[in-house]
C-alpha cells in the first residue's frame, strides 16, 4: 500500500483506487499504449494510428491533436504523457521529406524511454479498405514471426520483443478455443518486414483439430527499419528482473539427467536389519530348546554387538 506512504493521503476511496492502480506491483497490469501524431502527420499515418487503436482497444489511447516533438531528440514530452496517462507503450507517427511515413514504436520503463525503433511504412492497406467482417474488439490475437532475420541481429530481436509486447494483450490462464479469431503475421525478408492481419476460419477436417483457412482482414503494412534507440544492457537487465516471489519454485529431491529421466530421492530413517519384516520360512523357525541355549550364550555377546553397532 504505497499510497499510505505519501505525505498527503488520498481523501476519497476513488482517489485511493486510482493510486493503487498505478503503483508498481508484483503482477503488473496490462500495458496501455498511447498513439500520438507528430506535427506533420499525413493521412496515411493518421489512418495507421487509427487502425492500431482499433486493434488495441481498450488498452490504448489515441491522441487527437498533433504534438510537435521529436522523440529521438527530446524524450521529455513523451515521458510526461506517459506519466499522465499511465501508458508504457507508445507509437508516434510523423512524415517529412527525409523520412516519409515514419512510425516510431517504443516502450517505457518507470516512465522513461526504454527502447524506440523507427519504422518506415512503404505500403499500407487499411481496415476499411478491405471490405469484410471484422472480429470484436478486445480479442487476444495470435502472433507469428517468420524469417530467420528476427534472431540474427540485436535490432531485430528487440523489435520482435517490442512487437510482442505491443500487440500481446492481457495474459489469460484459459482461452476459449472458438474465440481465437485473428492472427498477426510478421515476415522478415530482404530488410523488409511484412505485417499482415488475417481472420481465422475453422473448417472441418477428419479429426478433432480443425483445418485453418485465412482471410485477409485488417491493416497490412510493409515496414523497413530506420533508426533505433535501444536501452543499454544494464537498464534492460534491470527492467527484466523477476521478483523472487514470481520465480518458478524448485522442487526439492527431484533431479533430471541428460537423457530426460527423472530421479527422486527418498530419505529413510535408520533401519534395524535384524527386525526386518521378511518372508517367514517355517522350517527355519527356532525350536524352544534351541532358543534357551541361545539366550544363555548370547547374553554376554549382546553387549559387544551393541558397541559395534553404535560405531
Amino acid at each position: 500500500m504505497a499510497e499510505l506512504d505519501r505525505v498527503v493521503k488520498p481523501k476519497t476511496k476513488r482517489a485511493k483506487r486510482f493510486l493503487e492502480k498505478r503503483e508498481p506491483k508484483l503482477n503488473e497490469n496490462v500495458k496501455n499504449a498511447m498513439l500520438i501524431k507528430g506535427g506533420n502527420a499525413n493521412a496515411t499515418i493518421t489512418q495507421v494510428l487509427r487502425d492500431v487503436y482499433a486493434l488495441k482497444k481498450p488498452y490504448s489511447v489515441l491522441y487527437k491533436k498533433k504534438n510537435i516533438t521529436r522523440p529521438f531528440e527530446d524524450q521529455t514530452s513523451l515521458e510526461f504523457f506517459s506519466k499522465k496517462s499511465d501508458c508504457s507503450l507508445f507509437m508516434f507517427g510523423c512524415h517529412n521529406k527525409k523520412r516519409p511515413n515514419n512510425l516510431i514504436v517504443g516502450r517505457m520503463y518507470d516512465y522513461h524511454v526504454l527502447d524506440m525503433i523507427e519504422l518506415g511504412i512503404e505500403k499500407f492497406v487499411s481496415l476499411k479498405d478491405i471490405k469484410n467482417s471484422k472480429c470484436p474488439e478486445g480479442t487476444k490475437p495470435m502472433l507469428i514471426f517468420a524469417g530467420d532475420a528476427f534472431d540474427v541481429s540485436e535490432d531485430y530481436r528487440r523489435l520482435k520483443s517490442l512487437l510482442i509486447d505491443f500487440f500481446r494483450g492481457p495474459t489469460v490462464p484459459n482461452i476459449r478455443l472458438a474465440g481465437l479469431e485473428y492472427v498477426l503475421h510478421f515476415t522478415a525478408l530482404d530488410g523488409k518486414i511484412y505485417f499482415r492481419t488475417y481472420k481465422l476460419l475453422l473448417k472441418k477436417s477428419g479429426c478433432r483439430t480443425p483445418r485453418i483457412e485465412l482471410e485477409e482482414m485488417g491493416p497490412s503494412l510493409d515496414l523497413i527499419m530506420r533508426r533505433t534507440y535501444l536501452a543499454s544492457d544494464d537498464l534492460y537487465k534491470l527492467s527484466m528482473k523477476l521478483p523472487k516471489a514470481l520465480k518458478p519454485k524448485k522442487k526439492k529431491n527431484i533431479s533430471h539427467d541428460t537423457f530426460g529421466a527423472t530421479y527422486g530421492r527418498i530419505h529413510m530413517q535408520k533401519q534395524d536389519l535384524s527386525k526386518l519384516q521378511t518372508r517367514k520360512m517355517k522350517g527355519l523357525k527356532k525350536r524352544p530348546a534351541e532358543k534357551l541355549t541361545d539366550n544363555q550364550e548370547n547374553k554376554p555377546k549382546k553387549m559387544k554387538r551393541r558397541k559395534i553397532d553404535s560405531i
Binding site: 506512504d5 518507470d110 502472433l143 517468420a146 500481446r168 481465437l180 530482404d190 477436417s205 528482473k241
Partner: protein, 358 residues
C-alpha cells in the same frame, strides 16, 4: 495367410489415419517454436519460398506461409488440456515462457512501523472485530465507527464534571481538544513512520526534541539550529557579551594517521615529486573549460553592450526596425551558447546605421 491379412489391415488402418491427418499436417524443415502462454509461434525457416517481390503473387505466398504457420499453432493449441465452462470449450494455457520487460520497477519492501515491530516482538496478532455493535441507547445494531456510530461521544448533551476537576472548566471543549490532540499525534506518528521507511533524517530525531535531559552538545546544536532558522538565516541575531561567533559548517580537514599505510604514502610522495619534476604543466580540464566559457561569455556581453550603445546612439528616434527583430528572433537551441546571431546582427546594424547617417 492370416499374417498377410493382418498386415493388410494394419496398412489400411495407417492409410486411413494418414488421410484423416492430411488436412492438418504441415511439413516444415525446421520445427516452429511455440510459446502458448502468449499465443506465439516463431518460424526460423528462411523465407526462400517467397520468390515474388511485389504484387498479388507476394500476397498469395505470404498468405500460404501464414496459413501453414497458423495451422501448426492451432494443432498445438488443440492438444492442450481443455475443459467445459458454461457451454464453451476452454483450453488451459500454460505460463508465458517469453520474458518481457516490466513497465514499472519492483515494489520495494517497506520497513515495519513502530507498532508492527512491537506487535511482532510481543506476538500480538490482529483480532478480527465485528463490524456492528449493539447500541443500548437506540436499541439497534450500529456500526463501530463512522456515520451514526454506536457510542457517539460527540452527541452527548450532558457530561458530568469528574471528581477532581475544576468546576469552571468546559468539559465539552476539553473533549474536542483531546480529539484534536489525538488526531495530531496520529498524524505525527504516521509521518515519522514514512520518514523511517524512506530513511529521511528529521531534525527532531537528531536529538533536538525537548526531553529535559539533553547534553551540552545537544543543547548547543539545538541553539545553533534555532539561530539559523530565521528569515535572514541568522545574520542579524544578537549574541551574548562573551559568546563566540558560531564556527559554521566549514570544510573539515582530514588528516592521515602518522603511521599508516607505508606503501600508499610512498606512492603519493613519489607521484608528487614526479609532477613537480615534469616539464609540461598539468592541466585541469574542468577549470580550463570553465575559464574558456567565462571568457567567451564576457566577450559576448561586451559585444552586446557595444551594439546596444551604438544602436541606441544612432537610432534615437526610430522605432524598432528589422535589426531589432533580428535580435529578438529565435534564441537558439537549448543550453548551447552560440555567439553568432548577435554578432552578425550587430555588424549589420552598424553598417545600416552608417548609411542612414549619410
Amino acid at each position: 495367410m492370416e499374417a498377410r491379412s493382418a498386415e493388410e489391415l494394419l496398412a489400411r488402418a495407417e492409410r486411413a489415419e494418414a488421410e484423416k491427418l492430411r488436412l492438418i499436417t504441415v511439413h516444415k524443415d525446421l520445427e516452429l517454436e511455440f510459446d502458448l502462454g502468449n499465443l506465439l509461434a516463431t518460424d526460423r525457416n528462411p523465407p526462400t519460398g517467397l520468390r515474388q517481390r511485389s504484387g498479388p503473387g507476394l500476397e498469395a505466398q505470404l498468405r500460404g506461409l501464414a496459413r501453414d504457420n497458423v495451422q501448426l499453432l492451432i494443432n498445438q493449441l488443440w492438444q492442450l488440456p481443455s475443459e467445459r465452462v458454461e457451454e464453451a470449450v476452454v483450453a488451459r494455457l500454460p505460463e508465458p515462457s517469453l520474458r518481457l520487460p516490466r513497465e514499472k520497477p519492483l515494489p520495494k519492501p517497506r520497513p515495519l512501523t513502530r507498532w508492527q515491530q512491537f506487535a511482532q516482538l510481543k506476538g500480538i496478532r490482529p483480532r478480527k472485530k465485528t463490524s456492528l455493535v449493539w447500541d443500548e441507547a437506540s436499541k439497534q445494531w450500529r456500526r463501530r465507527w463512522g456515520y451514526q456510530r454506536a457510542r457517539d461521544d460527540t452527541k452527548e448533551w450532558l457530561i458530568e464534571v469528574p471528581g477532581g476537576a475544576d468546576p469552571d472548566e468546559d468539559q465539552f471543549a476539553k473533549r474536542l481538544q483531546a480529539k484534536k490532540e489525538r488526531v495530531a499525534r496520529n498524524e505525527l506518528n504516521r509521518l515519522r513512520n514514512i520518514a523511517r521507511a524512506h530513511k529521511v533524517q528529521l531534525p527532531s530525531q537528531g536529538g533536538m526534541h525537548p526531553t529535559g535531559y539533553q547534553s551540552r552538545a545537544e543543547l548547543g546544536k539545538a541553539m545553533q539550529v534555532a539561530k539559523v532558522s530565521t528569515a535572514s538565516v541568522g545574520r542579524f541575531q544578537e549574541r551574548l557579551p562573551k559568546e563566540k561567533p558560531p564556527r559554521g559548517p566549514g570544510k573539515k580537514r582530514q588528516f592521515q594517521p602518522n603511521i599508516g599505510d607505508f606503501a600508499a604514502e610512498k606512492k603519493s610522495q613519489l607521484e608528487l615529486i614526479r609532477v613537480m619534476n615534469s616539464k609540461k604543466p598539468r592541466m585541469d580540464v574542468t577549470r580550463a573549460t570553465n575559464k574558456q566559457m567565462r571568457e567567451e561569455d564576457r566577450e559576448e556581453a561586451a559585444k552586446k553592450r557595444k551594439v546596444a550603445k551604438g544602436r541606441g546612439g544612432k537610432r534615437k528616434g526610430r522605432p524598432l526596425g528589422p535589426g531589432g527583430k533580428g535580435k529578438g528572433g529565435p534564441p537558439g537551441p537549448g543550453g548551447k551558447r552560440k555567439g553568432r546571431p548577435p554578432g552578425l546582427g550587430g555588424k549589420k546594424g552598424q553598417r545600416q546605421g552608417g548609411k542612414r547617417r549619410k
